[in-house]
Symmetry: D2
Subunit: 254 residues, 4 copies
């Protein structure tokens, strides 16, 4: 039987603020990446998200980012690799501890925003992140874009890896995400998103906008939670996959 994980970022509010329909997404996805209080999130939101995930049977991971609440982790701030290793380790540890309060357990790390993008292309940043994860807990899986620099570095360090595709983003021929500023880079149509994901799963390859195939062992599909029709896209992707015979289940049971 073919299995696939469906993941989404979650818990990216702060105090009185919230972003996205977390409750709606939690009914659809099988894995959530939870903000750790630096680019978003706080101990309260982390706790309630972990607890809700536990009740829903959904796997959880830390979703650390730059210490930049004002910028939501989307600005590239010139931290040294040492500083990055430290503040990522800090966030992973914090998430692990709060998850225990909720009787759940984090089993992966997915890096957020500008820092995540940087690590996909920059070897030193990728090393900094992998160093943080391996030092804190070698059993944690790292979510990566297949074939990226982060994938290569994590593989070299024998870190467990979950290779993912994005349901709502177009790809370049390199296998990288098409930059958001280019037309057609973001897919808003739920039907289209569902069909694309299914095609990629069935072919075992990323399908670039040009039609080019880049073979990839896809372990998870990422659906964004902060777009207007996020729940609709996620729901459609899940339906398409299940209709085609895939079992949508947490990566931890894949």
């Amino acid at each position: 039987m073919k299995k696939i994980d469906l993941n989404s970022d979650m818990g990216e509010g702060f105090g009185a603020y919230s972003i996205g329909d977390d409750a709606g997404m939690l009914r659809i996805v099988t894995t959530v990446n939870v903000a750790c209080g630096f680019h978003a999130g706080d101990p309260e939101i982390m706790f309630s998200t972990f607890r809700a995930a536990k009740e829903a049977g959904v796997a959880i991971g830390a979703h650390p980012g730059y210490p930049d609440l004002w910028g939501f982790g989307r600005r590239r701030i010139p931290y040294s690799t040492g500083e990055i290793t430290r503040f990522i380790a800090y966030q992973i540890g914090a998430a692990a501890a709060v998850a225990l309060l909720a009787n759940h357990k984090i089993t992966h790390v997915k890096v957020h925003g500008a820092l995540g993008n940087l690590a996909e292309e920059n070897a030193e940043i990728a090393e900094a992140l992998v160093g943080a994860v391996t030092s804190v807990d070698r059993s944690l899986s790292l979510f990566v874009i297949g074939g990226s620099m982060l994938d290569q570095v994590a593989s070299r360090h024998s870190l467990p890896i979950v290779r993912e595709i994005y349901a709502d983003r177009a790809y370049l021929d390199t296998g990288q995400l098409m930059p958001r500023k280019l037309p057609g880079s973001v897919i808003h149509d739920a039907e289209l998103a569902g069909k694309r994901v299914l095609a990629m799963m069935q072919e075992g390859a990323v399908i670039a906008a040009s039609g080019k195939r880049i073979p990839l062992q896809i372990a998870s599909v990422c659906v964004h939670g902060d777009t207007p029709n996020a729940v609709s896209i996620a729901s459609t992707v899940r339906c398409e996959l299940e209709k085609a015979g895939f079992t949508v289940t947490p990566y931890t049971s894949v």
Copy 2:
């Protein structure tokens, strides 16, 4: 052979700021309580403090506090017990992870400032703190003032406890610290501090300002790091104890 631990708060700077002569204190004490980034401290300072402690053979613990950098954790902020449990767990987890980066391991928790004081007297707050510690790691020791509410609650939950006395603070007949605003509450004379600590160790009792003895199994002596002559006091206390035949060693080896 009689053993005793000597502990001090440390790593309470932030970014470009520092407080106290951490390097000086680290040559004298056997245990340090390291700020976790909420009332003070940041991932960089935590890391370098943990690493220096490792090199010095000094035991480390998390020193969490209120999320109040501006107030240095000295303001009583009305958080619910649930909120306190969550943000204390968060800080302990963060400290544990950063310690691993430094090849060290936290083995205790000592709560900072206003929140620590509150927990010494308030059962619900004490429960909140103990709940955080037991959920995150039951093997962590909790530093407490002997006989305080926190001592009682932690004992009831069978948490490992390290009962401490303060080298530079006078005591009330209740065994509580004399409030700082009262005259004579803070001892600035190093010789006097040394003699008092020694007397308390030899008698196995807290000696109140009135002369009253409150029996206590003293496992550690706290010396503050942020007073002008902190290093001098700590050094004198250590000398007095060693001259009297005590072995000053981390509580982890007591």
Copy 3:
């Protein structure tokens, strides 16, 4: 001709976060109270809110609060009156400067949340706030609940005062807002809110839940922006007032 101002809090997002339908409210109200970066708001949001208010012909004021983004200014934090005076002055000055960038000008202050509530009942806190306003700019109006401690203190210091009623809140016989925890304290029905406001305006009195009348020179009606049907309530209140012959116009032109 009878004139009345309609005010709402606004610009209470932070970075990527937003709360309430600011654009929708801005088409209805005549005055906005803009968060200043401590309990909510940031320089970007302040600027764009001020600019939009300028374009809409809407009066603006500073809406300072506790330095507590995590708590959205709703926690009572034990700051001294001196500290309160300083951080309120700081926020008013910041708002005044950013308003100038937007070619607009702040003409009032309305204190937010827990600090505002405290000032309605506590004379020392009220003095602290009035002291901040008078030191920074004596020409600024202060929004107050009629008859409150803040009203009395501001009157004694001859500060310009705008006395307001709340469209969506029930009143006690004392003229104070009924605490939110009591049943019936918050009015969710737009029609009801509209009729109540009109009745109070026509009688020149606050009408308590008991039916008791407390005479008051009402200069403004506050409509909240962060409730689900905020725009609907505000719109209905405005319609009722206009149908009854009131001119809804900024307090600066009353």
Copy 4:
């Protein structure tokens, strides 16, 4: 009579933290640049610094920087020019208001750290800063390194300018500060600093490390407050100038 101003950054602590001997420097300098709560400083420190400056007859200015307390404003963070204009205006307004509480008045702006350095070389950043100052208060002077991009932009906008030299920094032939990483870039010897400043004042020129002279109308001499012998350097510079017949007085009376 020849007059010269002596300025120093001040109030760069935060909460319980302090940096430099502010009281010592305040007895020597005639102008202080006060941090505004973003890279350092808080309303309490701003207030007490402004009040002490008032008592000492010392001129005050806003010393705004990046919103980066952790990095003390020394990191170049990629903010847009619009964002920079807004957060600089915010800080200037905040400082102006808190100064009024202390019965003093800010009369200049000097930009801190990485943002200040950037503005010395980058025209767009310089425009952003000048735009903030002119929008908030056209009468404020801007402190600049003579001949820098910031000097040129501020001149073009007819902003009052105070051109300064650094007592403890070596210069390149371009008139720019020698980067700190180069040997000899920072002058630690008080006597040497004093003689250099005097020579530059007497020649009316910046004297580069090579001996090259770059003519400049020097209106102020900056002495740093956060180096170990800062007070000694400042004191020696002042003595040398006074012995040579200069009157050391606030730029506001030059």
